[in-house]
């Protein structure tokens, strides 16, 4: 006979060693699934070999637990039937010795608990072993400690500023005669910058707040604020992220990494160079740092694992530096390696556009490109000296490769998708299909062929990053819609009289302008706004407009705080932060920031030689 469990059953759950460590929310769900069963003496609760459908908690009475051979087991925990949580059938038989009242939990409820709390399945196995062994060694679980409620002074300051500064900025803008829309958006922008600077919420949330607030108050229509979600960029992001997920989850990146380690000389410099060069090679055909990084990160992860680099060590950090720089250093060196370069080229006079659209951009940026690569190599050597690792066991790697066997069909599909994307992106001038639609085809192939299932598509694609990037795109479009770019350009142009046609001073002006703009804006829009501000100054002072575009392209890659770089945010959001030494990496980044300024100044004599100055 069964009836619904009464409320005191909660106490029974809380006091049982198997359930006591579960969060209240889970216990509440279990309580809903619990019901009570009563049996008379000699009645069978379950038999050995029967499907394990329930776990039982004894309330009153006793029972006999018998092994298949008939050996009686003394019940230590007043619980039986743990098989329902870990296996499909009962290992023993349970027969009531006296009148028995038990609470039972169905297998479905236990499966749900195990899904949400992976440690529960292990505890249930341990409990089953305890029951059969007749000796209790399951320790009562402790409820997870609540998230730290300590709030740092910096965080309090951040929240305090967030609650006051936007209002003050709105009032100040109003008093200064700004239009309502400019004052409102300035306030919204200040709020999201504060959220980033003080890390008050996850990085991908502030752009969404800005977009929603803008729509809510009618500052821009949905067709503007959400345009990124309907843009080719959306397809590129999802396609490339899916390709990256397929490369990682299929094991292709692991196999490639093993192959690389097997083939390359056993030197960290070679391994790092492989990642750096990989990123450089992707740069001309993949005009997004985020896309390049998402293709390189699986390789980084697998290489770390293959090399058995300790987490947080110099080797792992050097490898991350190579991965990150591989994806980023070439961004300003080619017209097609950064979407804002392509856009900025359109701002140039027609004859200069024609001159720089091809390989000549790289020729003009050659000193900077070589300089940045040398700076990277020097910085890595200086900051992350080789840890003298044990020699790479080539025989083990060969054995690993042999164990992997021939490529699986999923790996082949991922490889074909990658090759197709590379070849098709490199031959756009032949077929005239934009890279976004190529990424779309790759996405379809990966999904239809099953290389990426529904579950992987949901879990392995970095959706917060997709929302972050599209939200940033929305912010840029809202600024353009409100014509704030033009206002900003007008205000700042008035300050550049001191340059007086001197390129050295212009470089400094470009550096300061771009850094200031980049405090609030992401790389792409930061570069474009800086270009809009500086191009009229360059034109008025006889400075080659391409140099102006190049300066904003290279200086916009400078970042000091994580929120300023969507690529670094991507590394963090994918959980790689624990792999390398964060302070060490930041030191490397600051050095590379400095290197960007240095290589520009070194390039000036070269530009004079080329006749650009």
């Amino acid at each position: 006979m069964t009836r619904e469990a009464s409320l005191p059953s909660l106490l029974r759950l809380r006091t049982d060693a198997l359930f006591s460590g579960l969060p209240d929310g889970v216990l509440a769900r279990l309580l809903g699934a619990l019901d009570e069963v009563q049996l008379g003496p000699g009645e069978v609760l379950y038999r050995h070999g029967e499907p394990a459908r329930f776990l039982y908690l004894l309330e009153e009475g006793t029972l006999d637990l018998l092994t298949p051979a008939g050996r009686p087991i003394e019940l230590k925990e007043r619980r039986c039937g743990e098989e329902a949580a870990v296996t499909s059938s009962y290992a023993c038989s349970a027969i009531a010795r006296t009148d028995l009242r038990v609470l039972r939990l169905p297998k479905s409820a236990l499966t749900e608990v195990a899904k949400a709390n992976p440690a529960f399945a292990a505890s249930a196995t341990q409990a089953l072993l305890s029951s059969i062994g007749g000796e209790s060694f399951l320790l009562p679980g402790k409820a997870k400690p609540a998230k730290s409620t300590q709030v740092s002074a910096t965080e309090i300051l951040g929240w305090g500023l967030l609650l006051t500064a936007p209002l003050l900025i709105f009032a100040l803008c109003g008093a200064r005669g700004f239009t309502t829309q400019a004052a409102l958006f300035s306030a919204i922008l200040s709020a999201i910058v504060l959220m980033w600077v003080f890390s008050l919420v996850d990085e991908f949330i502030p752009p969404l707040i800005a977009v929603v607030a803008t729509l809510f108050i009618g500052l821009a229509p949905a067709s503007v604020a959400l345009a990124g979600f309907a843009s080719p960029g959306m397809m590129t992001l999802v396609g490339v992220f899916a390709l990256s997920a397929a490369i990682g989850s299929s094991g292709l990146s692991y196999r490639f990494m093993l192959w690389l380690l097997h083939r390359l000389p056993d030197r960290p410099a070679w391994q790092q160079s492989a990642l750096l060069t990989g990123g450089y090679l992707l740069s001309p055909i993949t005009p997004s740092g985020n896309s390049r990084l998402s293709l390189l990160l699986p390789l980084y992860r697998d290489m770390m694992e293959g090399l058995r680099l300790p987490k947080g060590g110099a080797g792992a950090t050097a490898l991350m530096a190579a991965t990150f720089s591989g994806a980023m250093l070439f961004s300003p060196m080619l017209s097609t390696s950064k979407s804002s370069n392509i856009t900025a080229v359109n701002f140039l006079p027609l004859q200069i556009q024609e001159q720089f659209l091809g390989l000549y951009w790289l020729v003009a940026a050659l000193v900077a490109a070589v300089g940045m690569t040398l700076c990277h190599l020097a910085a890595v050597r200086w900051l992350f000296p080789s840890e003298n690792p044990a020699p790479l066991p080539k025989a083990r790697i060969r054995a690993q490769l042999e164990l992997l066997g021939p490529m699986t069909s999923v790996e082949r599909i991922a490889l074909a998708g990658f090759a197709f994307f590379l070849v098709a992106s490199a031959s756009v001038s032949l077929h005239h299909v934009p890279p976004s639609w190529i990424a779309g085809i790759v996405l379809i192939v990966i999904l239809v062929s099953g290389a990426l299932g529904k579950k992987e598509f949901r879990e392995q694609l970095d959706w917060p990053m997709v929302f972050f990037l599209l939200g940033m795109d929305g912010i840029t479009r809202i600024m353009e819609h409100l014509e704030l770019n033009a206002v900003l350009a007008k205000v700042m142009t008035a300050w550049f009289g001191f340059v007086g046609g001197n390129l050295w001073l212009f470089v400094l002006a470009a550096l300061v302008t771009t850094l200031l703009v980049r405090l609030a804006l992401p790389i792409t829009s930061g570069m474009l706004v800086s270009t809009i501000i500086l191009l009229p100054v360059a034109a008025a002072q006889g400075i080659n407009p391409w140099i102006c575009v190049f300066l904003t392209a290279i200086f916009s890659d400078i970042w000091f705080l994580p929120y300023q770089s969507s690529q670094y945010t991507q590394v963090v959001s994918q959980g790689f932060e624990s792999h390398y030494d964060v302070p060490g990496f930041m030191k490397y980044n600051h050095l590379m920031n400095f290197a960007r300024v240095v290589v520009v100044f070194i390039s000036i004599p070269y530009w004079k030689w080329l006749g650009l100055v």
């Binding site: 409620t149 709030v151 965080e155 309090i156 609650l163 239009t179 829309q181 809510f216 108050i217 500052l219």
Partner: protein, 341 residues
Amino acid sequence: MKKISLRSLLIGVFLILFIILLGVFNIRKPRILVLHSFPKDSPWSTLINQGMRKALKANRNPVSVNFHHLGVDSRQSTESLRHQIQEAKEAIEREKPDVLIAVDDESNHLVAKDYAGRGKPRIVFVAILQPPQSYGYTTTNATGLVEQLPLDAVREAILVARGGQPARIAILAKDDITGRAELEQAKSYAWAPHRLVGHRGENTFEGWQGFISRMADSADVLLVLSYDELKRSAGTSGMVPRGEIVDWIERNSRPLPLGICDTYVQDGGGLSITPAPVDFGEQAMRLALQWIAAGAGSPPPPVGTSHHFRVGLRRRPLAARGVTMSPIYVETARLGDAYFP
């Protein structure tokens, strides 16, 4: 009771403040209510709205815009009209607009004029054929656009169509607020060198057919004013489709028909010179936004009129009558998407 952590408190305060600020801003945001005389799907309302959307697209100031259609219909009973007027007034009370844009004479006559001089809502009238004063509007309590039928252009087009020969003109209109006002403008216009020989305000198709037959020998040109929602005959309530009216006119009218209603050529007519509803809508919305930007209590911008008009041409019916319009008319119609080869 669980203790609330400081972080939760700060997040809560931020979210509450964020939602309150956005809410308050939205509540205080200027509101515009557009009150149309005719139903939502009428071509005139659609084109007016098209112009309004154009002005709103260029606007960057947050503003809330809603639309209400009075839906005046010549067949409706007094009771039903009273109900619709009441609904429109309730919409105004509910929306509490800062500016009420009342389109056409009907909405001004039946609703908007009752709000003249109240301060809120401020009134922007559009496409009214009657003088603003007739609705109690003054230069201090309302602004807007008066509709002038493009009769100068019509006079010139008649000369072109008739190879420079003056014409005897007959005018046919509906007998409702708009129709009477249009007819009044056309009647009082100085048509020389042409001559006005007859006019009629009539709400039935039967009546229109009779007038056109009577004018067969006494007029050279028939000016067709608004013809939407004509009843078939006095005893019936069904409306005659617009296409059927125009088709009958083109086939049976001996005088050359010339529409002064925007849908005339689209419905099958040969030639039309009409006011430009898109321009009305655009200008009206701009006036409203300009008045809002000037701030509460500011005097209204001056009353204006639209100087634009549209030319519509359909080659086949004109060719059947041996009428050839000069290339400039053809190109103007083509540019306005109103040329049908």
